[in-house]
């Protein structure tokens, strides 16, 4: 059985939980007292991940850290449709990789602002908020044109990819960091589309969407 070293309020842990749920993959959680216990910084935990961060995935002895790497692994290993990580389509795969890197940016800005407000992390708050708004403005425009072309997801294709999963919680929880989503209607509609995927699961701070029409 897959084990995920996990903290409930971590966006990066949630990305792994969400994809495993969407793929209908069974897993068990190993709760890590990330806050306030700082368990991920203990010597004991560093025997699992020497870099001292979560999530960490343990699939039958294969140990992997970094949320986005975990998404790549899980999709490639467990998505028999080969759509979440589209390895058979070089261009689509390239786009997916590009948006995954973009998601590193939203994690380092929007989710950093959330850590500052929630847990008092020492970030230059106005600067990370401004960075998040720059990325959200671009993503919102991109999704608006995507919708005009009759598509739903960040990458061009009919099916969501792990890039959607990598971006989703950074966007959905941005208001906790003082980053309002009012000015990004296409982003909010995209969030609702993700919430309506079969087997979608919430985390603290993210609520389910109504079924829609």
């Amino acid at each position: 059985m897959i084990k995920l070293y996990d903290f409930e309020l971590s966006v990066n842990c949630y990305k792994a939980r969400l994809l495993m749920s969407l793929l209908d993959v069974a897993f068990e959680l190993v709760p890590v007292d990330f806050y306030p216990g700082w368990e991920h910084k203990t010597e004991e935990f560093k025997r699992i991940n020497p870099l001292g961060h979560i999530p960490v995935l343990d699939d039958d002895g294969f140990v992997l850290w970094d949320a986005h790497a975990i998404l790549v692994y899980l999709a490639t290993r467990y998505d028999t449709s080969r759509q979440w990580y589209p390895v058979d389509d070089p261009q689509l795969l390239g786009r997916t990789a590009s948006w995954m890197l973009f998601a590193e940016g939203t994690t380092n800005t929007a989710s950093a602002a959330r850590l500052h407000v929630n847990l008092g992390y020492d970030f230059e708050i106005e600067s990370v908020r401004a960075g998040a708004h720059r990325l959200f403005r671009y993503l919102d425009e991109h999704l608006w044109f995507t919708e005009r072309e009759g598509r739903c997801w960040v990458c061009p294709g009919d099916h969501p990819t792990i890039a959607d999963i990598a971006l989703f919680p950074d966007v959905a929880l941005a208001p906790e960091g003082g980053i309002d989503l009012l000015d990004y209607p296409a982003l909010r509609r995209w969030c609702d589309r993700i919430k309506r995927l079969p087997r979608f699961v919430v985390m603290g701070g993210i609520f389910p969407a109504s079924p829609g029409r």
Partner: protein, 312 residues
């Protein structure tokens, strides 16, 4: 569905408080367990920038940053100028900017078999009274904490009793059917609650303990008002649970807390209106009505919108 309707950004500086009721209280700054000894930390209390820490001997030190500004992480000064009164109670460091009465007592915290834990300190973009009122509310359990503290269709809040006893608001006889009342719960149970508000920005909950029918778990919510519309919520757990790990107990509470947070941050106005006609209560809100009236009678103005005539 909720939408984000925040009316202004969360900012990192606030106007200083002039409300004597708020100034003359003890306020929590941090869990002592989270502080490294000999290191300076910074925060805001009632709009006042403070430096604070625990010295090498384990003694708390708090001072206004206007008297001595030190960057966070600096060595803690031995005797800072204009040092403020401090106390360590229930695992938290408390201070005051005024002349307070003694801090309320939680006798259960001294029982030797209790697990006394700092569950979390988390920032919320709302006023302290909004956070207290949310904590008192049972009506949201089946919706916001679905599958944990409540479940549809069991949404009725049965009548309960509210009294002001020795200057504190008490709500007693509260009952709610809960799928998972505590991390150690093995089955759904009718859970008994007593709520207590001994301080305008602090509230305490006593609820059925799944491990010992004769006792109650104690959960405290102590708000640090950084500004009128920005708080840090400090959660105390004081529970009888011989089985769950600290990590499991904290995870359970953090999970609940994180569900409340966006709801709270979307309540506008962020300051709590004290006029009885400002928001329409229902019968389940008896404790909130008593809390608002109690705040009005003590003359609190910080973090609230006082009733126009100043009366309850």
């Amino acid at each position: 569905m909720w939408s984000n309707s925040s009316t202004r950004p969360i900012v990192d500086s606030f106007e200083r408080c002039t409300d004597p009721v708020a100034l003359n209280q003890w306020h929590p700054l941090s869990a002592v367990a989270e502080l490294r000894r000999g290191v300076t930390y910074q925060t805001l209390l009632l709009g006042e920038p403070l430096g604070y820490g625990i010295d090498d001997a384990g003694e708390p030190v708090v001072w206004p940053a206007k008297a001595l500004h030190l960057p966070a992480g600096s060595p803690l000064p031995a005797t800072p100028p204009a040092g403020l009164p401090t106390q360590v109670s229930y695992g938290y460091l408390w201070t005051t900017l005024g002349d307070p009465q003694p801090l309320f007592a939680i006798p259960e915290a001294d029982e030797p078999d209790r697990r006394v834990l700092n569950a979390a300190t988390i920032g919320i973009a709302t006023s302290a009274p909004r956070a207290v009122e949310n904590f008192l509310d049972m009506g949201h359990f089946p919706f916001v904490h679905a599958g944990v503290l409540g479940a549809e269709p069991h949404t009725e809040v049965v009548d309960y009793r509210v009294d002001v006893v020795d200057g504190e608001v008490w709500a007693t006889g509260c009952r709610f059917p809960q799928p998972k009342a505590a991390p150690g719960s093995s089955a759904s149970a009718m859970t008994d609650y007593t709520y207590r508000v001994p301080h305008p920005y602090c509230t305490i909950l006593y609820k059925s303990c799944p491990f010992d029918e004769s006792r109650r778990d104690v959960i405290g919510l102590f708000l640090q008002p950084m500004g009128e519309e920005a708080v840090r919520a400090n959660m105390l757990l004081c529970v009888v649970d011989p089985i769950s790990t600290d990590t499991e107990i904290r995870r359970f509470q953090l999970g609940i807390f994180s569900q409340d947070k966006p709801i709270l941050e979307n309540q506008v106005p962020r300051r709590l209106p004290l006029s009885p006609i400002a928001e329409t209560p229902i019968r389940a809100d008896k404790s909130a009505i008593a809390y608002r009236r109690w705040l009005s009678e003590m003359g609190l103005t910080y973090g609230v919108i006082p009733a126009a005539d100043g009366a309850a």
